[in-house]
Assembly symmetry: C2
Homo-oligomer: 486 residues x 2
């Protein structure tokens, strides 16, 4: 997984990105490397998130964390290592996760008595602590989140989308009643939905998972499903109503108002660095990344256009503009002299900076600058006096436009199908979301999967229409979303 030394940089050659439509998989790997979002490492399936990629994660984290805190959640930190016996306490949970756990067997020179799992998720250690902390109804609800790294031993990995180690947040809550837990799981689903649509400009379908696809140990799993540009679905986040499964396995009880001892009701919910992969796949084009302004590390790049004679003048004006806009926007100016403006245009387009400001001697004369949008490539001269207002409006407009475009793509690639033949035909030719009837039985789900590789991505929360006979067995059922998944 190591890569050869990057000769092109050394020799100043402009490296050309492959077209997205030509080979999506290669485009995806190349754009991540060229834009310096991430890099491969000598550790199987593990990536380095480089500063430019990490800055996107910081923006995601900051905005989501604010929403978590507004809704009463607090952050904490639980151990990375989990004793094997803890993982085993909830039967479904261990079955689901044991095959992909990395095991610590030695500390220093000593062999451990019990193997320790590197957390693939933290339910088991957190539930153990909750069983110590929760005593009375007065201790409820417990609303805790943690931002951390987790590890799942994956066979096939791709940067951001599926890596052995990844960063995420995992919320873990405990409640006195079933209703409260259900309301919490749905609240977090809505928070994720708003966040992914408003900040990442990615439209999602929300709903429940089938028994087969739900989280190991959960009562009910809610999911947010996005459609990527190759017609495959990506699970962008999940929120689980854990019911009392973990409470019973870990003996988490409380004394209610009448003095009776009862099990708590729990939820857990998470999103990960995978969202960065979703952003890349959803918005990018042949020229490279397009990062939605709300999470872009650099929202605006100023590129001065100068000759030897005009360099001082243009540099001063650039620095003036930078100062003017710095308080309001994440903005940088590329004042390097060893690169041409043309090289810089390509570079920042490839890195997905939403808006470019060009300024040259003629612009200065006219007291204007040229604004170039990354999404539409539209160029527009703007009076300097109107710059602040204009930049803000254009950034908002780009944000909205990216969402609209992605939504339009999804609509064009969502197909309502009635028969298994049509279902297979669409999957073979164009993929996308397939809305089809399903009777609710796992046998039918399995059969469809074996025949078509598509899985049920999501059972809509509020279906537009009820009904729809199962495309496998023909019995009465409801309409669900199928797709081939990432």
């Amino acid at each position: 997984m190591t890569m050869s030394k990057d000769k092109s940089v050394e020799e100043g050659i402009v490296e050309k990105l492959i077209n997205k439509s030509e080979n999506l998989s290669r485009w995806y790997s190349e754009v991540i490397r060229m834009a310096k979002l991430a890099d491969y490492t000598p550790v199987k399936g593990c990536m380095v998130i480089r500063p430019y990629g990490y800055a996107i994660w910081e923006n995601i984290r900051e905005r989501l964390d604010e929403k978590f805190k507004e809704t009463g959640h607090a952050n904490a930190y639980f151990p990375l290592l989990i004793p094997e016996s803890f993982l085993a306490k909830e039967a479904e949970h261990v079955q689901g996760f044991a095959p992909e756990v990395a095991w610590v067997t030695h500390g220093g020179k000593e062999k451990l008595e019990e193997r320790l799992a590197i957390r693939p998720t933290s339910e088991s250690i957190i539930c153990h602590m909750y069983s110590k902390w929760i005593r009375s109804h007065r201790d409820l609800p417990v609303l805790i989140n943690q931002w951390c790294n987790v590890l799942r031993w994956e066979m096939v990995t791709r940067p951001f989308l599926r890596t052995t180690e990844f960063l995420w947040q995992e919320g873990h809550t405990a409640h006195a009643t079933k209703e409260e837990a259900e309301e919490e799981a749905l609240q977090m689903l809505r928070i994720y939905c708003d966040f992914i649509q408003d900040e990442l400009a990615i439209p999602v379908i929300i709903g429940g998972k089938s028994e087969r696809e739900k989280f190991a140990g959960a009562l009910r799993t809610y999911t947010l499903e996005a459609l990527m540009c190759d017609g495959r679905a990506l699970q962008a986040g999940t929120s689980h109503n854990l019911g009392q499964n973990f409470a019973k396995a870990f003996d988490i009880t409380f004394q209610d108002e009448r003095g009776e001892r009862r099990y708590v009701w729990q939820t857990s919910w998470g999103i990960s660095t995978r969202l960065i992969g979703a952003v890349i796949l959803t918005h990018g084009d042949d020229a490279g990344l397009i990062i939605p302004p709300n999470i872009a590390p650099i929202q605006v790049i100023i590129i001065p256009i100068w000759q030897t004679k005009t360099r001082t003048l243009v540099r001063e004006r650039t620095e003036h503009l930078l100062k003017l806009l710095k308080k309001k926007f994440r903005i940088e100016a590329d004042l390097r002299e060893e690169y041409t403006p043309g090289w810089k245009f390509n570079e920042y387009e490839m890195r997905g900076v939403p808006l470019r400001i060009e300024i040259g001697p003629k612009d200065i004369e006219k007291e204007q600058v040229i604004l170039v949008r990354r999404d539409t490539r539209e160029e527009k001269p703007i009076k300097e006096s109107e710059l602040k207002v204009e930049v803000e409006q254009i950034l908002q407009n780009i944000q909205t436009n990216l969402f609209k475009k992605a939504k339009k793509f999804r609509e064009e690639n969502t197909h309502e199908v009635r028969g298994l033949d049509e279902f297979e035909e669409i999957l073979r030719t164009k993929r996308g979301f397939l809305i089809a009837g399903w009777c609710g039985k796992t046998e039918c789900e399995n059969h469809i999967r074996e025949k078509t590789v598509a899985t049920i991505r999501c059972i809509p929360l509020a279906p537009e229409r009820r009904g729809g006979n199962c495309i496998n067995c023909g019995e009465r059922g409801e309409l669900v979303y199928f797709a081939q998944a990432y």
Copy 2:
């Protein structure tokens, strides 16, 4: 390491904290548990950082991260797991860290071909990546930091001060010249120094480490040493000038302006959750924690004093005050009816909230509140109209006062000694910092350590006076700080 169920909470009994002076070690453990800063876990030497403790860490992180970014550093994320062969590349480094590494030997069901270390620190994996990324002088300096978890298999652990897993930040920079690297190492030392003194209110001595005490693989280690209330020194942070040791081991080279290939010069620097332990030990008293206002999760607590008849009136006034002050301060009001004001006073004193506002019906009549400082216990009625200004001033004053008090303590417990007998006598009776002459030889350092358990904590950067004969061999040397260390 598991603890029994906390009966006192269940039964509503007020648990009494042991006096700090009576048994510091027990006081430390108890206050951490009672204030809900952290808790033990079933994993050897690993703790949970609970929301109240984690909020201190969030405040530390936010403030330091801002300083890192102001000085041009960017965050990134490198893998948790490091192949054994990488750790082994720098000879001193592997010797220093191998004995305390946790090893991953299995992924899922497969046994790994090469063991993977859970990072005890990340020099080796980061240097490997730098050797790929750095080509030209134009790529320098590289100024990267990461906030993450690390693991060191420790035999004896104490929450925050020494735990198997802990949270920290590690900065890793690469420079074109020796001078730049040295300047960077010193710049970060100064940033840490200002931060620890201004925000944590802990005075530190800064300087270099001896050969024996320096970081495994570094050319020079700079340290910040704080004196805890039991007279033992605590290393609060370190900044290393790595020279070219890692550059040579990992082949990190760049082409300079004249086309010559040269090795980079590097630094690394870090602080950890240990700082929370330092805050607890430095400022706490018999009643519990005292958290400096600048990093306190709750800076001000409002406690209403009501009877059945006055409850509505007092509650409304409390909510009004909370709203008034919420924008400016981290403030909460405890409106719970099942606890008495007296219980609440104790609780928030124990949790170290710097300032308490009491408000009752008589105060409302007089349009005043009572302010009670946590550090001096001083009570003061304040007109509501002056509240905002007054609270701000008192918080600032508490911050300054905590620092002054800690500094006074350090001064009273810093002893200049001339002979080994006096040295031993002081260590036996009162500990503290011992300023004594040292010739610079490791033999003398070892001999002093074996005889007295004290180590050289720090060789001052700007010694007040030069000279001082070695207390072991009598040869000419310089004055250094000795102490028994945490």
